[in-house]
Assembly symmetry: D2
Amino acid sequence: MEHKIAILGASGYTGAELVRLIATHPTMKIVALSGDRKAGMEMAEVFPFLRHLDLPRLQKIEEIDFSNVDLAFCALPHATSQAVIAELPGDLKVVDLSADFRLRDPSEYEKWYGKPHSAPELQKEAVYGLTEFYRDEIKGARLVAGTGCNAATGQYALRPLIEAGVIGLDDILIDLKAGVSGAGRSLKENLLHAELSEGTHAYSAGGKHRHLGEFDQEFSKAAGRPVLVRFTPHLTPMNRGILASVYVSGDPAAVHEALASRYAAEEFLKVLPFGALPSTRDIRGSNYVHIGVIGDRVPGRAMVVAVLDNLCKGSSGQAMQNANLMLGIDEASGLRLAPVFP
Amino acid sequence: MEHKIAILGASGYTGAELVRLIATHPTMKIVALSGDRKAGMEMAEVFPFLRHLDLPRLQKIEEIDFSNVDLAFCALPHATSQAVIAELPGDLKVVDLSADFRLRDPSEYEKWYGKPHSAPELQKEAVYGLTEFYRDEIKGARLVAGTGCNAATGQYALRPLIEAGVIGLDDILIDLKAGVSGAGRSLKENLLHAELSEGTHAYSAGGKHRHLGEFDQEFSKAAGRPVLVRFTPHLTPMNRGILASVYVSGDPAAVHEALASRYAAEEFLKVLPFGALPSTRDIRGSNYVHIGVIGDRVPGRAMVVAVLDNLCKGSSGQAMQNANLMLGIDEASGLRLAPVFP
Amino acid sequence: MEHKIAILGASGYTGAELVRLIATHPTMKIVALSGDRKAGMEMAEVFPFLRHLDLPRLQKIEEIDFSNVDLAFCALPHATSQAVIAELPGDLKVVDLSADFRLRDPSEYEKWYGKPHSAPELQKEAVYGLTEFYRDEIKGARLVAGTGCNAATGQYALRPLIEAGVIGLDDILIDLKAGVSGAGRSLKENLLHAELSEGTHAYSAGGKHRHLGEFDQEFSKAAGRPVLVRFTPHLTPMNRGILASVYVSGDPAAVHEALASRYAAEEFLKVLPFGALPSTRDIRGSNYVHIGVIGDRVPGRAMVVAVLDNLCKGSSGQAMQNANLMLGIDEASGLRLAPVFP
Amino acid sequence: MEHKIAILGASGYTGAELVRLIATHPTMKIVALSGDRKAGMEMAEVFPFLRHLDLPRLQKIEEIDFSNVDLAFCALPHATSQAVIAELPGDLKVVDLSADFRLRDPSEYEKWYGKPHSAPELQKEAVYGLTEFYRDEIKGARLVAGTGCNAATGQYALRPLIEAGVIGLDDILIDLKAGVSGAGRSLKENLLHAELSEGTHAYSAGGKHRHLGEFDQEFSKAAGRPVLVRFTPHLTPMNRGILASVYVSGDPAAVHEALASRYAAEEFLKVLPFGALPSTRDIRGSNYVHIGVIGDRVPGRAMVVAVLDNLCKGSSGQAMQNANLMLGIDEASGLRLAPVFP
């Protein structure tokens, strides 16, 4: 069996991460790669770390023959993504990694992304790609929307707690530490090594980060009532990794139990023993999520810490996991790579 | 005018930072350096970055003639420090950088540090060294206790708010990101470059960090009632710097105003315009503190972010500032070094 | 088919890297792990990044039943290794990662390692594990000696040139930049993050690095006359990776041609187009070697740059490649993992 | 006494470093700052680490009244610099940090920088700014050309050896490791943290780096015959610092003696004891140079290692040192800042 794969937007980090994962996937084979500004180039020129692979040259999207493609990963910027996907064959399976199909409500999309959605029917069709919570819908979906990487981390820590009703809903606070690659391969002064290494700062603070749209949608749905979390990400001098420190009210033991039981059967979600907390170093380069719970000296308060690799489980690994489901194969295919440490 | 200075415990990072600062101080001159295990060595062997300075050789403490010393900085480990200081001449001015004299209540000391204090009279005598809040007491003190570096950062963000009564006292949360040098020059596996770089994790979580003793003492005093904050530090792959993300309830504008007015005349404490948040990169190697305030989308909630250099303003710079006061000279002497960026 | 594997010395970085690689190997299964000081512990305690794997608990070596083992990787310190291997069953296949069996001449061993070899017959039996140059001997070997990681990098750049006779033998200079993990998980002050990050320095300079013993042995053998290279490694603030800048006299085009033709059929050795030079970032976490050649403005001088991951191709990946050969399976089994970038 | 200073091109790293140094300089006062694209902005917006200083707003160069300026530092890109300086008042003291006036021979300038020099008379007038070798000329100069940072490092290691005639002139090899800030604040993909951290690579290899023009000019002058060195820089994941590993033929003891005696009276140049080698960590943020010498196992071969901070002694610190000389004050004014470690 072979699954023919196209990657649209292969010249960015999530596109390259997909190529990395597909390199050892048992059935996926890359038949087309697009990279608009770099069309005509070899991937080895754009990403020399992929030099050992036999890959098609980068093309423009319109040059790709999609009749020969089983599934397309779309790793384009938001806004571009909705325009491109609307033009693809209507029966082509698509996993989108952009923000374009994460929010089901067009007005929420406009609120967070600043302009109206151009493909609202697709927005309606798309299934939210948090695998462990939408597995059945994903299996039958044609279009799956990858989640935000921060949004995934926060949800892994919080959804089971909201569903189990073990925490207060009005004082949830997420203080998140994010690695650099989450900002992509974009030329911004504050992403230069000389600016970014050896320091840390908060960004999109004050309730402005767009992944709040996902938190609002998903937590409110899980709770059956509006839930507004506080959320502040901090840029941290590491290339990969997200650590979410989630502060909640509730009984710490109940919090731990809710997570441990909800994830007991999940291959990629590991809940540590009560009181142990995870490190981003231990999931780097992998599809695993480590989650820890500890109580506070202030009674009735708990801290949940969840870590994942933003490029893998937070985007491209999740995308592959969802693609596996859509293709009807083992969900973990190609994703059992161990983390890379040190 | 010349002030003769001894540094006890000069072979650690805070001791070396004192030497660095004294190198360009207008009146201080180092006459003695102790380093028990490294006694007999030149500082240039222990810290080659100090090679250009003409410094006395490291000695054992008992070899130092304190009659020739105007002021001693004591940069020894806690517990050791109280034993050593008890043996020093009773009229020698001392700035202690350890944890030994930060807590005024002997039972609090025992609670956080695990054994009874051996010099409770000195503990009573010592003035808490948060310069901008104890300036007058420090001027007349013989023994000043340097604060914890995390404790200083949190207090700079919170004390004016508690004093001004503009925040709720029962839901204060400090999520702190700490650089590596705060852990000292100690041989621990998790401090190795291969273990620590490229990742982050929480430590002393769950209300266990010893600097909570200082928060409790100082915030409760400022509030006139018990205040119990939540506080979690995270080890961050940068050598210097602390960033405290402090979450409070209160009117964001009032929070900003309380900080800006309280610190308007303070040379080293800079409050950014409302909505701007600081980065640790901008105070590295200096005695400056940058503080920012932003509101949240959740009404009545604010975030205060304070940054400082743990080795400088968080310990050795603070120590020098206090020493300047004790010696009756310009408080900022030797401390106007600009941060080093990049 | 299943191959039962023991790893002796599994609590260090090369041991952990072996576990990482075996995790996706098609036929290897770990049946025993030793870690003397950590015997009794779970691997997840020693290396939390391996938490997702179902692994045997760490044991003492003497507790392992080797009758149930097909092949043992020995990742112990040198000197310890020769003592341990001498006590293993005489027909057990062993891949040793230490320095103990790299030098065939007992007097050379004593010269570089400072004491006599205690198992000279084993030393004689051992095959030098530079796979692409000793493939046939390795296939039939019982005991294979892993090469030094720096020694491997230098040899990949130089052996084909010496064999082809395209460079001068008396002015070879290797300036090497080595990542931190090569120093292992040892508690040394200069390996602390605060000491090692953000700087670089030479070490074992002046012809003192022990891997010179391997260069001497192998280059002299390849040349049929004594060859003494100059070699200086520099510690570089990156966790994985070695870059060898090799300066030679010879025609640059002939140098490139000698490498390109010698490695044309080698899956893991990639020679870049003439004039392109490699980066350690592009082989991180993988078994690949990238090699580039450029001429100098000084006629008749060339520079060869070779990069590899010291923990993978430089030690544990090489060990697995050799083990595959010894077990009679596809040499690249489990080793086609793509590099991890960024 | 007060010296009124203008900095042209203050929005780059060397401009900011000048501001940092002037902040504690005893007589210099900044009266004008230019930053073409950022004209109108406060320095605190461009470089928040300078927030505590009272600085003039950034202007366009043509807005500056130079009649009120004693000395201008020109930190503009090459080519721009020659055009700007040609328009400045003819009696204004200028220290240029660009490459425009380093090469005395117009044809050499054209060869290395790809176009004819537009101000050849100024080129003739300019004094090469390697302070310790051109001190007397600098004292009387109106226009001083700052050296390349790599060029300075290599010359500190080699000039005394060439002058003393203790090394061979035809096999000098400089393998250099350079920190990131040397590339400036420019938006290039390979300078992003995600691309640059955790790895290393050679650049401008093969005799193409422009600082070779300086080596050729200065070494040939010192030797009285043409000297062509080999020189390869490697980008290293650290923000500040250059380490030059210089390989020479000659008697190691004589090499050490030549350096030690030549620099015995130089405040900023420190020669370590024979056999000790320096680290970039020990000069970070300072104007000091550390130099070490070691012999090789190959007789008659030596290695010299020199380290300096590319932004300080390699450019802005050197510029200030030269400016001090031009202003007739203590050469070390404002430059005795100790390095920052860790």
